[in-house]
């Protein structure tokens, strides 16, 4: 029995706010609560809820806040390890780096708001994830973003894409956080339901960590930052239903971001935390004041008393219901000892922010809200959070999905290896994302060691000689075809990207974007993908430190492709060890690591050129991946590597081409001569060049070091074959295998790769033109 169970009914008295609607079955349904949940509320209160209380339950028991369909599955993630300072449950996870430094990081989705209003939806998504990180006491030092859209062939998708990118950029640029990486892909399944996942990474001294637990009876709750308006009321439950005509009607609830205010909030919050002025801090994200206050109280095992009439509002006449559920941006809830309130206000005033006491911590365990003294909410606080319903939906793989795995595409008549590579480099999903990341400030803070464009981004930890590497990844086609292997593959790719940069993978955060979990085939995807992620994390020793679940990503045509995005951070022992993706010097030896079986199931070749998404994806050998990671880090430490690039979509051919094309600001491409005969010459060329087996990396080293590299690979149990030589600038990429050979002028490939996206977007400048 918890303390909450013994709260006497007298403490739970509350009355309707004058003029508010009666709680009828219809109103309950509007709040997305089912009969079972409503009965639970009746039992918990011992009476009918007021409308305001119903709003509170609706928000906190929404999928978005309560994880009611995902909790039992998420519990299976490995969450502990020697580096874990803070696991899941707080605003962001925290991992230990070295010399007293720690990294706080988290990823979050803002899919539905971005579908309705791409610019503001994406911008406020960035704002939210930033707050999650700096409320831990960490200074944000890097942003990443993972985006999904339907095909760029339609105007609506181009509009969404351009608007989202501008929104992500404008917000992060203004706050002054460099974007160091991300990913964008385009597939039919995201038409009408784009995905916008933003990740933030921050640094703190381990002793500066602060958590979101209200404690100390009598301590004061303050709202800091922007005023509360009527925007985004019920955003949390909006995020927990499918997009429909109805969502269009919700448009007036769009939240508008103010990155300038966020920057002030960031500085003020860090000063409040590091100066020891406050005992707890929590951002007001989804479900605003409701979730921030209720969750802080529940974590601290205390009650809170709030008066909504004290909350500064943007417009007069707001009801307690509206104030509690508003999702106005750039607000924080802070807990301070009564004696320090004046100091808190002084710090905030210096940053031109208001800090207004709105209530205090109580000892009766009740989440109580009054408006001008009239109590409108009185709910047992712990149970409000802990007793959220939990569902165990049915999971069953769709027959069609099983059938797809054993299908193969019709043979293509005029397939040419040369043409196929050109075509693949021209597909927006594979092509350079320079058009995107040039809109993001990637060098502010003067700590960027590797910006966007390489396998992982790397930032220096200021004042030290080491760095952190960051990446986000997900290949949703693989997850769609085989959720378990796809889940493994996602973590494996992230870890490979980190290791290619020379860093040791440390841990992950995840953003699990799926359709409606009440559909058995969707829940199957979810459960299996999570199992794959968990197994990979266990094998790699990279715990899950937090994340976000986004369900109900559907549109009239069905669920999106399952997209469990993984954000990973790694430790780069010394900045001097960092490795970028591109060929560098003529005469360097090219070595191919790993094994190629030539699996085309789920490949970009089939999907993009044959319009066929099917076949069984290659299985992931987690132990082989682990050995590969260790080898890459060891070789980087010995400073043996000139470049390292992993093979993902498009297989060996695309990876080699990307190495030869070079970085976005290289003066030209650089040629190479590669003979894959010793690697896997017996394979059919299509399978050899475009197969998407995992665990493969193309590295280069000086010719003198090649033997040492091969020996080191052998010691680590990593298959490695010397396969060629880096050629001259403006040269050609020549690949041969067995008795065939193919050739491409690198500068032509370069043009295709960098033009693919801009040439499809010639007219989207208009949206930008109309920005006020």
């Amino acid at each position: 029995m918890t303390t909450a169970d013994i709260i006497s009914p007298a403490l739970l008295a509350a009355c309707a706010f004058p003029g508010e609607r009666l709680v009828t079955p219809e109103v309950v349904r509007e709040h997305n609560l089912n009969q079972f949940e409503y009965d639970k509320i009746l039992g918990l209160l011992g009476r009918a809820p007021t409308l305001t209380e119903l709003g509170v339950f609706s928000a906190l028991w929404s999928e978005h806040c309560s994880y009611k369909h995902s909790k039992p599955i998420l519990r299976k993630f490995p969450t502990t390890g020697p580096a874990v300072v803070q696991g899941p449950g707080e605003n962001a996870g925290v991992l230990r780096l070295k010399d007293g430094w720690a990294v706080a990081f988290k990823i979050e989705s803002h899919n539905h708001p971005s579908a309705v209003e791409p610019y503001q939806g994406a911008a406020t998504g960035v704002g939210g994830i930033l707050r999650d990180v700096f409320t831990m006491g960490a200074r944000p030092i890097a942003m990443l973003n993972s985006l999904r859209f339907g095909s760029l062939d339609t105007a609506r998708n181009r509009y969404l894409f351009a608007g989202v990118v501008r929104g992500v950029g404008d917000y992060g640029n203004c706050v002054g956080i460099p974007t160091l990486g991300g990913e964008v892909s385009f597939a039919e399944g995201y038409t009408g339901n784009p995905l916008v996942n933003a990740m933030c990474v921050g640094l703190l001294r381990e002793e500066q960590l602060i958590t979101a637990r209200a404690h100390g009876v009598g301590n004061v709750l303050l709202v800091v930052g922007a005023r509360t308006g009527r925007d985004g009321i019920h955003g949390a439950s909006f995020a927990s239903e499918e997009l429909s005509e109805k969502s269009e009607a919700r448009r007036p609830q769009v939240q508008v971001g103010d990155p300038f205010c966020e920057k002030l909030l960031l500085e003020a919050s860090l000063e409040l935390i590091h100066g020891g002025y406050i005992v707890a801090i929590q951002d007001m994200g989804a479900a605003g004041l409701t979730s921030s206050s209720a969750e802080m109280a529940a974590r601290g095992g205390v009650g809170v008393q709030i008066d909504t009439a004290l909350v500064p509002t943007r417009e007069p006449g707001m009801t307690p219901y509206e104030i509690l559920l508003s999702e106005s941006q750039e607000r924080m809830l802070v807990v301070a000892e009564p004696g320090r309130v004046a100091e808190v206000q002084a710090v905030c005033a210096r940053w031109e922010l208001g800090a207004t006491p709105i209530g205090h911590v109580t000892d009766d365990g009740v989440f109580r809200v009054a408006h001008d003294g009239l109590t409108v909410v009185a709910i047992p606080g712990q149970r409000l959070v802990d007793d959220a319903p939990v569902y165990h939906p049915e999971a069953r793989e769709a027959e069609a999905a099983i059938a797809r795995r054993s299908a193969a595409p019709p043979a293509r008549a005029a397939a040419s290896i040369e043409g196929d590579l050109r075509a693949l480099l021209d597909t927006p999903t594979i092509a350079s994302k320079r058009w995107v990341y040039e809109q993001y400030d990637s060098t502010v803070q003067a700590s960027t060691a590797l910006g966007p464009g390489s396998d992982a981004g790397v930032a220096q930890v200021p004042g030290t000689s080491f760095g952190i590497a960051v990446t986000v990844d997900c290949n949703s086609r693989l997850v769609a075809l085989d959720p378990y292997e796809g889940g493994k593959a996602t973590v494996a790719e992230a870890a490979r990207n980190i290791a290619c940069s020379g860093a040791v993978p440390l841990g992950i955060t995840d953003c699990l974007n799926f359709g409606n979990p009440e559909k058995p085939e969707v829940f199957f995807q979810f459960r299996e993908a999570c199992r794959g992620i968990a197994d990979a994390c266990l094998a790699f020793g990279t715990p899950v430190t937090g994340g976000n679940v986004s369900f109900y990503n559907e549109n009239p045509n069905g669920a999106i492709d399952p997209t469990p995005t993984v954000g990973m951070v790694g430790l780069l022992e010394s900045l001097d060890h960092r490795v970028s993706s591109f060929f560098r010097n003529m005469g360097d030896a090219i070595i191919v690591l790993g094994r190629t079986e030539g699996v085309l199931g789920g490949s970009a070749l089939w999907a993009e050129l044959d319009r066929f998404v099917g076949g069984a994806p290659a299985p992931v050998d987690l132990q082989a991946e682990r050995r590969l990671q260790r080898f890459l880090v060891a070789a980087a430490r010995e400073r043996l590597l000139r470049s390292a690039h992993d093979c993902s979509e498009g297989g060996l051919a695309v990876a080699l081409a990307e190495c030869a094309i070079g970085g976005p600001y290289a003066p030209s491409g650089i040629g190479a001569t590669v003979d894959l005969t010793p690697h896997a010459g017996a394979l059919d060329p299509q399978h050899l060049l475009f197969g998407e087996d995992h665990g493969r990396v193309v590295i280069t080293c000086s010719r003198m070091q090649a033997d040492r590299v091969l020996v080191l690979a052998g010691e680590h149990g990593v298959p490695a074959v010397a396969a060629g030589t880096v050629g001259e600038r403006h040269g050609s990429l020549v690949i041969s295998a067995d008795r065939s050979s193919w050739q491409w002028p690198v500068d032509e490939l370069r043009r295709i790769f960098f033009d693919a996206i801009p040439r499809r977007l010639q007219h989207v400048a208009t949206d930008a033109a109309l920005e006020a």
Partner: protein, 233 residues
Amino acid sequence: MVRVAVVRFPGSNCDEDARRGAEQSGAQAYFVWHRDTSLQGADLVVLPGGFSYGDYLRSGAIARFSPIMQAVQAHAAAGGGVVGICNGFQILCEAHLLPGALMRNAGLTFVSKPVDVMVERTDTVFTWAFDRKTPVRLPVAHGEGRFVADAETLARLEGEGQVVLRYLKSSPTTEGNPNGSSNDIAGICNAAGSIVGIMPHPERVVDPRLGSADGLLFMRSLAGVRALSGAAR
């Protein structure tokens, strides 16, 4: 040691980068708050990059009315060195300490990338450590960097050698002028070379361990401003 005051406006976000860069080069660099009225005996003032007041209305338009700007005006009028980087350049133009204005990029999007620029004038507070015209590669990151001035002003800037930095047109890698600036201008100064505004960010490339030190000589110029005062006046 040279005292460099870095002004922090609400929304500045390259303030720490500028302070650190100046300090690494040997200056004694410190922050002054936009509401302060004294520069605390600064030899040189830096208006750093960022989004002062959110860049609302026009970048730099609101910041120029900050209380500290009176002290900056006085310092400038007395011949003291003032350097504006990116948002700082925009503020200097809005405050009429430098001529012209910085408008929305011609491509309409924010542009973040390295650009190749020529340091054309090497006797200013921000460039004297260069001993001759030198091409450097510096990052830009701005949405409003298109330098605009009337024909007469442009002619004067060119005629008097007040163009400090110019985007290199022919660079194969960075595609030249990133924002449509008149005459490819990336930075200008007043006639004396004591007030300088540039769009690129030298303070972000001062550590060879991070890949480039092309900005170092700018920072050294700041840190050695006395040497200029001695030599140039």
